[in-house]
Symmetry: C2
Subunit: 245 residues, 2 copies
């Protein structure tokens, strides 16, 4: 492991050292190098490894402790408490709850808000409608065992899906809400994946560590005839979830 002090302090101007150290340690944990129950190296060895002061390591560890990723025990050491990332499979038949079944118990989605919107150029192309078409827009949050796993924005044609938000709110699932509108089966059209820093609203709703990274999936679900049903922009916390293609 290279030193951070000389290299990173210069390389990553604008990002505090304690945050970089915290990110590096969290990566070891969610990446599987360290398992729940494992004891981390001592504060001094860690400070040595990253080339920073012990205070800087302590601050990083205290942040990770607040996140619930590690816990410190006076006189004994610091231990890993959280587990590794969940895997969310993406393919032609992509279903959120089914994909995570077996990895988490209680998976449910909640409706944050619903409103009407006119299709702009991009959405019109994605949904194969004329620009200006009335759309239902829903904002949702999905949780697994109480932990936020996805923050999504969805758009559907209002003419066909008036009241979709209510259906989602009651069922907690896109698949079941679509079922209420007579869609028995659907599949995934395209999925575009990118990544960036979480914005303010995402940090809050996903209960994210400050400055965290989100995976962004920009996707369209289509019916069996290939017609677009549902465009969505989903943000996943990158340290809790990975996408499997």
């Amino acid at each position: 492991m290279t030193k951070l002090s000389a290299d990173l302090a210069a390389a990553a101007g604008g990002v505090a050292l304690w945050r970089q150290v915290a990110d590096a340690i969290r990566l070891d944990i969610v990446g599987g190098k360290l398992s729940p129950g494992d004891r981390l190296a001592g504060e001094l060895p860690l400070a040595e490894r990253f080339g920073v002061n012990r205070h800087t390591v302590r601050r990083a560890l205290s942040v990770l402790a607040e996140e619930g990723v590690v816990r410190a025990e006076h006189g004994r050491g610091t231990f890993v408490s959280a587990a590794r990332r969940l895997s969310y499979p993406i393919g032609r038949r992509t279903r959120f709850s089914e994909g995570l079944a077996g990895q988490a118990r209680a998976i449910r989605g909640q409706l944050l808000s619903e409103r009407l919107e006119r299709a702009g150029a991009g959405l019109a192309r994605a949904l194969a409608v004329r620009p200006g078409t009335r759309l239902v827009r829903i904002e949702t949050l999905s949780l697994a065992d109480g932990r936020p796993l996805a923050r999504a924005t969805g758009w559907l044609e209002e003419a066909r899906f008036r009241g979709f938000g209510d259906a989602y709110a009651e069922t907690g699932s896109v698949t079941q809400a679509l079922h209420r509108f007579g869609i028995d089966d659907y599949s995934r059209g395209s999925t575009r994946i990118s990544a960036r820093h979480a914005d303010v609203e995402e940090s809050r709703s996903l209960a994210l560590a400050p400055g965290a990274v989100v995976l962004v999936s920009d996707a369209v679900d289509i019916d069996t005839a290939g017609r677009p049903l549902h465009a969505m922009l989903t943000r996943f916390p990158a340290d809790r979830l990975e996408l499997v293609v």
Copy 2:
């Protein structure tokens, strides 16, 4: 757009305000909200929009100017110079250069280093070999029109692919290097996608903006019989590329 000062300064401790402002503006550009040639809002309106001091906006813009994303013209304003993200298609037939053909002209890969390694538990499982098997490990960098687009680490069984690094160095392409070893066709097995902050080495080799986000693809290529050929861990700059499934 919400204010950053009150919300983010508290929410994203450890990340300087000028960096958050720079990231937000860069996102508008690579996300397509602003196009090359467009004029950015003035410094004072921007300061107002983000709820920060004008000096803070100036620092953000000067960083973006150093990256080559915008250029400031004395007395006229600040203009967008860089283009939006490239799209890299991922599917059963995934080929790096083919996937980007049409979006960039000169695409080539260069070999950074090659060495021998013994398979650990994870690699052994991915390549379907016994732990301890001798592997060729190659470190590569791919560029499109001179801009670094991917930093990859690849592993292949040494018994079959001795000298793979040389073949890659000469051809600049995995597909062509495999061809030299008698592999006429191959396809993509699994692909796991995650995201995180770039580490020191990645920041350097990909010429990344400090504190940047990388998309990480952990994938295995298989031959027509379904046997694993090539395990790879590829890091893409999230603000230059998106993955399309």
